[in-house]
Symmetry: none
Subunit: 323 residues, 3 copies
Amino acid sequence: MRPDDANIAGNVHGGTILKMIEEAGAIISTRHCNSQSGEHCVAALARVERTDFLSPMCIGEVAHVSAEITYTSKHSVEVQVNVLSENILTGAKRVTNRATLWYVPLSLKNVDKVLEVPPIQYAWKELEEEGKKRYEEQKLERLVTKQRNGDLIFPVFNPEPYTVGYSQSSLIHLVGPSDCTLHGFVHGGVTMKLMDEVAGIVAARHCKTNIVTASVDAINFHEKLQKGCVITISGRMTFTSNKSMEIEVFVDADPFVDEPKERYRAVSAFFTYVSLSKEGKPLPVPQLVVETEDEKRRFEDGKGRYLQTKAKRQVQMQPLTQQ
Amino acid sequence: MRPDDANIAGNVHGGTILKMIEEAGAIISTRHCNSQSGEHCVAALARVERTDFLSPMCIGEVAHVSAEITYTSKHSVEVQVNVLSENILTGAKRVTNRATLWYVPLSLKNVDKVLEVPPIQYAWKELEEEGKKRYEEQKLERLVTKQRNGDLIFPVFNPEPYTVGYSQSSLIHLVGPSDCTLHGFVHGGVTMKLMDEVAGIVAARHCKTNIVTASVDAINFHEKLQKGCVITISGRMTFTSNKSMEIEVFVDADPFVDEPKERYRAVSAFFTYVSLSKEGKPLPVPQLVVETEDEKRRFEDGKGRYLQTKAKRQVQMQPLTQQ
Amino acid sequence: MRPDDANIAGNVHGGTILKMIEEAGAIISTRHCNSQSGEHCVAALARVERTDFLSPMCIGEVAHVSAEITYTSKHSVEVQVNVLSENILTGAKRVTNRATLWYVPLSLKNVDKVLEVPPIQYAWKELEEEGKKRYEEQKLERLVTKQRNGDLIFPVFNPEPYTVGYSQSSLIHLVGPSDCTLHGFVHGGVTMKLMDEVAGIVAARHCKTNIVTASVDAINFHEKLQKGCVITISGRMTFTSNKSMEIEVFVDADPFVDEPKERYRAVSAFFTYVSLSKEGKPLPVPQLVVETEDEKRRFEDGKGRYLQTKAKRQVQMQPLTQQ
């Protein structure tokens, strides 16, 4: 990891790690989907499951990213990606991330056509059954979030500190050739990196300290983003616990040249950040001031997600710390 | 703003800010010029008015770039761009730049055709009149500088095609943080990439076709290159065979800030390039015209290396293709 | 490999491959040299053996770079790197490069101190003997080229400090896909960034301190710059006041592939820089020494612009500080 991968605190941006994870996922699933003779295709990112940042990665360390296909349905591929950081001076290695991504193979001749995925072999029957369960679950959740995607963020003038309007931020990005695959789609990883950037700015504005990505909730990619469009990435804080902040991020696309299409919402997701002291210790987070009914409702929803995750983590922590 | 946007003093390069300003201007004017039905177009930058850097922008600050269309003539758009820097830790904001840019809409079908600009609405009649005055002023100034530009061409010696002087090239690179290891040395790979870039330009200037690197002779790194130095990479053609060109590349370093050292030669190497047709087939290379005694000697030396390599390759080819 | 790794022919730049090779070599040798307890070190590239580009690598292919330590002497490490390209659509793999690199471990506490390298185990005694032979050969060759390098320094004219010739600089840039709009024109902002880079090098060479852009005069873009052309950006100092320097920058384009056009002047502009102390305070600027009639005339012209701007600024300052 090089100096320009760093955030102000000197660690690697969560967004940079998300981008590497997606790159590995895209390679392995595109390779797999083309492994049988037939129409050539490119694997497009459809969804990333909730992922935790287990420990920070530092500049100068070597990142090891490994990917494995763990399930295939008729039209989608599940990929498991692990990220290790290695300090080549001391030899120390740590797991920094585990992520699960879903890809869909799109025909290169007609990008609106989804192709069939060659099935994989499972070592045990149970692995297939568990995969099928995960597949059904994410399918359902994708449906639900697609409906929720109606919201827009509007600017607030002269807001009070610690309100939602105070830290809310957005950035505009013109999609260029180096953001895209050869076939003219924005890499999912590029989008996630920009989302993490905006979420980080919202978090830093709220608590005015160094901040790091702690986790990212499941992200669904509902619409393709194409070369030449302008994307607006907006973030607003939805919830704070004692030591964490939840930020909702939206990606909207304006296909402004060559396209009669309207602005559309392509992606949305929740990022969780923590605030760190100069020594890298977690700091208390100022409570978010919610004013409108919508903000109160979102705060309660965020609290629900927070408590649910906390409960889940207590269960999962045991196997995780053993590895 | 990230570490690789910084100059050695730790502030953001003026050039990086100019680039952001222009991006904002290009987006808003392209969007405006496509807002009425008709031929699609892209807005091309025609002029930037004088701009002052009112205060420095620091790494870690958030840049806010906002753009507004302030005047439209029949064929051009005036855009006003403001840049604010925000320290998200203290909340302090400062104006760092104000700039005025002029764009012209070019048809996407025929880039030599300038399209018409949809008129904007003015809040007051005076705004339109003032804009018209600015438009006339810049139009006049453009004419004046166009004439001046004809005079001012640097004393270009015009060497004959195919001589050493004709294709000889050099580039200067200011070594920044992202070129370096954490310990402040330039990565050897960064130096090699720049050397290949210069060698490629020399080769392309000589034969005016697509060219590719065929091989690189042994490269010795005699001196360390440190952060903050300016490196000059120079290339000159030394030898041509029927289908290849040999280019000698030098890397010289000027440790110009805070260092009493003199310019020194850090690296040198020979690159071999071949010329390719559009179909990717090797093309014959025009013979290098050597004029001075030194050039003749270097040509003979190059021929020696060429014949030696050719002999070696005939021996090595067999094991290579077996592996 | 991504679009911005490509040359105009659509293949990956040789320089990009060399950079990946060196990165792999630096990682494996730094890891090895730190594998025994003792002083921490970083492996610095000392030499790359001759390397051939056996087949081109294409954009969209996946590069596999693998490295192995093949010999260690007391103070150096030999690394063998292999590069494979994989087309993930067809599954085809090809060897594109093999390279041998030599690294030397430098102490992190004192970078002029070379540390000892932990020995590796050889599978056969012959491997060690062959390695030793390669080690002796390269050691000899390094000595020979070091001497040659002393002779070959380009005829550097050594202009006097503070003259125009002393600080004058130029750089060449091959316009690549990521510099351009989707329609193949260079972004105006990319050009301005390169112009600022050259102006900054001229300013830093003149006063040998940290410098910052203070203002940019109006810039007119008379000619489009297209993908694939080579641009030469040249800068020379025209005027110095007590605390500022004016630098004139030219952009010339050579539309060298597929185009019958001659070199043309695309843009020119004046940049004003100031010199700063480590604490960020403006420093006095050494006066420019003008020698020829042209230089004197340009100095007077620059003085005129300087006085005019100063007068204008005194008028404008009031509204500016009120906003």
